[in-house]
Amino acid sequence: MPHTLSLADIPIGASVRIAEILTPGNNRRRLLDLGLVPGARVEIIRRSPSGNPTAYLIKGAVIALRNENAAQIMVDTN
């Protein structure tokens, strides 16, 4: 079953697991280097007042992602 939820859809305070990264090329590489690898747990910390970017806790560091990037990172909610 394809994943329908992305990191951009998750509310503040929730914790999810990365299922798949749809981003291609160098951007994909950059996301992997930030710790966004399949299976990794991500906690949504806060959104900036404008709604973009959002701060995520990933493998012990807080990482800010723009929504267009977050929308390409598919997640499991369990």
Partner: protein
């Protein structure tokens, strides 16, 4: 006397007495205590260094230990060396082209996993690496125990635990630097092995490139960059070698090997 003074003041940087002078690059993720380690080791004896390449690295300092003189270069904190930012490029270029005698990678003991990505990337460029697991006090406070000896065994390179803010572990860090330079520590760095299909491509590209590359550069690492279509690495090598490195020919040759 005047001559002596000059010699002394230059001894750490420009001295022909290379045997006793060593350059240590300080790498690590942002906020792991790199500057704290730097200040502890150098006692804040900083000055601005101007290393080959387009960017001036800001913090550089010196210290001596067991009769060796060290120049410590504080690189920008990065999660990766994939040059998607200029900080990453500065760090990568220094480690690759300025060829420090040792690259000291400072890691955060409270989130070691995230830090090991950079360690493994640096190990693809050079095997002269010392891992410093810092913030041990923070980790202990959180109930995290790091088995430093096991980490060193798994990585095949030396590792030292520190709590740089209080100075804990820095004496043994300096001793390990000295032991490494004295050749007293066996180094067998863990080499990442990729999927067979990728390995075939890496080998193919590496074979094509190797005859044109300077002996000191890790040809497997260059092949990996090319495989990611980062051709800028060829320009960098060409600029650095400053000679007839046939980069256009090479690019075309290598393009033939790309999947």
């Amino acid at each position: 006397m005047a001559i002596n003074t000059t010699l002394l003041s230059e001894s750490t940087e420009n001295s022909p007495d290379k045997q006793n002078n060593f350059v240590i690059a300080l790498a690590g993720n942002p906020n792991v205590g790199k500057s704290t380690v730097f200040n502890r080791l150098t006692g804040l004896k900083q000055h601005t260094g101007n290393w080959p390449g387009k960017t001036v690295i800001k913090a550089e300092g010196t210290f001596s230990h067991r009769n060796r003189h060290y120049t410590l270069v504080d690189l920008p904190g990065t999660y990766s060396l994939h040059t998607s930012s200029s900080d990453e490029e500065v760090a990568r270029d220094f480690i690759c082209f300025s060829r420090p005698d040792i690259t000291l990678v400072v890691c955060d003991a409270t989130c070691l996993e995230r830090n090991l990505n950079l360690v493994l990337q640096i190990l693809e460029i050079t095997d002269r690496v010392l891992v410093c697991v810092n913030l041990l006090d923070e980790a202990e406070r959180k109930g995290i125990h790091v088995d430093i000896a096991m980490l060193a065994r798994q990585l095949g390179i030396p590792a030292v635990g520190t709590a740089a803010r209080s100075g804990r572990g820095l004496e043994s860090l300096k001793n390990v630097l000295d032991d490494m330079l004295a050749g007293k520590i066996a180094i067998r760095p863990r080499q990442l092995v990729y999927d067979p299909e990728l390995e075939r491509s890496i080998n193919k590209i590496e074979k094509r490139l190797a005859p044109y590359l300077p002996a000191w550069i890790n040809s497997r690492w260059v092949a990996l960059r090319v495989l990611e279509r980062d051709f800028s690495i060829l320009e960098h090598i060409s600029n650095h070698k400053n000679n007839d490195f046939p980069r256009q020919v090479l690019k075309e040759e290598v393009a033939l090997c790309l999947p």
